[in-house]
Symmetry: D2
Subunit: 133 residues, 4 copies
């Protein structure tokens, strides 16, 4: 198994066409966690001005799980509760492993928006399960 480092995680994300489409980047990886970010742009918005935060949460959970289980993983499922509109400059999904076995990891994820002054606002919470393929 390739050991997953921030560099390898960034290459994995860069190999995801959908992540390129939404402009996601890995900004932290390791120690049972992963942080993904994207710049909030007009074309990521819904008609009501909100963003599809679920995409980034799903991805961050997969990467956090991969930090415990290795690169060949999938998100088996996840739950997200939206708390506030995702408005600001940056959307950040910080995921952490709550528990990892050999074949499955359960992760939590906090979605925050960062405004131009750098102030974070929690906008969604999620939890999900990552499984080896």
């Amino acid at each position: 198994m390739t050991e997953l480092t921030l560099e390898v995680a960034q290459k994995l994300l860069a190999a995801q066409p959908f992540s390129l489409l939404v402009g996601a980047r890995v900004t932290a990886f390791g120690d049972g966690g992963a942080t993904l970010e994207l710049d909030i742009r007009t074309e990521l918005q819904q008609q009501n001005g909100f963003l599809h935060g679920g995409v980034l949460a799903d991805n961050a959970i997969t990467f956090a799980g991969g930090s415990a289980l290795g690169p060949d993983v999938l998100t088996g499922g996840f739950t997200i509760s939206y708390l506030r509109p995702a408005q600001g400059a940056i959307l950040r999904a910080g995921a952490k492993v709550a528990h990892a076995g050999r074949r499955q990891a359960t992760c939590t994820c906090e979605l925050t928006t960062i405004d131009d002054a750098g102030t974070p606002t929690l906008c969604a919470i999620a939890q999900g399960t990552v499984i080896t393929r």
Copy 2:
């Protein structure tokens, strides 16, 4: 409140930059349900060849909720369980209202892929809550 018809639903979706980005379309709307579809294209895939089905499920749940509550709604949260890789020609998210009150609707959603021969395969199930704004 504008009554929601398939035509209005299609206009609402067309006003979502993110839906344009992923190429989602509303193919059925009304009677407590909504069906969204997208053509499975390379740029929607993840590194493992799977698709971000969560996006379409989230959207279909919002539209199904809107069929009961009116157009000014948001998904408050949802849960998705991925069953199989989303591979094929078309990804379809069929959402139905299980129960609607005045301010909240709870919906279920089945994600299926349709192959070139038109055969559907269930690839994820979801449930979520839609709230008026």
Copy 3:
């Protein structure tokens, strides 16, 4: 592996002290599904007159998963949305397998209450994952 029949399922449930405590019974089992019921009694209620439907849904999902995977299973997690108060004579949890692999099954569950006239009312929907131990 012991083949699971309605009779075996009833014995398994009878061996669960907690199920005895709440008075749950298996009323249907097999063909990728399981139905559990309990009589709605005062001591199962919360202060607001509602019932802890989550218990029965969790159990029904486990049994439905067991119908596909065999008896040595656990619910790995589940999601429940409460729609209406669980008031009536009987609480019924009907769970079905949406997809089963070798080690994991994903199930949906509808919780209904049955009043004295036998009329069912949907009061919660759930979905969950069952895994082999």
Copy 4:
């Protein structure tokens, strides 16, 4: 609205027949959180020796939500991921409010078991939504 204090929360729980049945107690309340505990007893177990942790998590989420919204609340739905068997002397559900509006609060909950030496082990994580009635 009655202000909710630990004392009031304990009276509310004592008025829940089901909570009496399982022997749940409120051990902390306020500041956007609530902790419920129960002694792990044989009659709360399932056939496999595990405990129905969902009950306590559901209850703790309701109380945490009530700490923000007032006493007249219900859990609208919740998601739980079981991580490890709930074995030990005490099962503790610690719930916190992640976000509260006027009519809805979203909470997270950690379920831990405490063994005879007082060592806590995380055995499940949950998140749920509490709504005013």
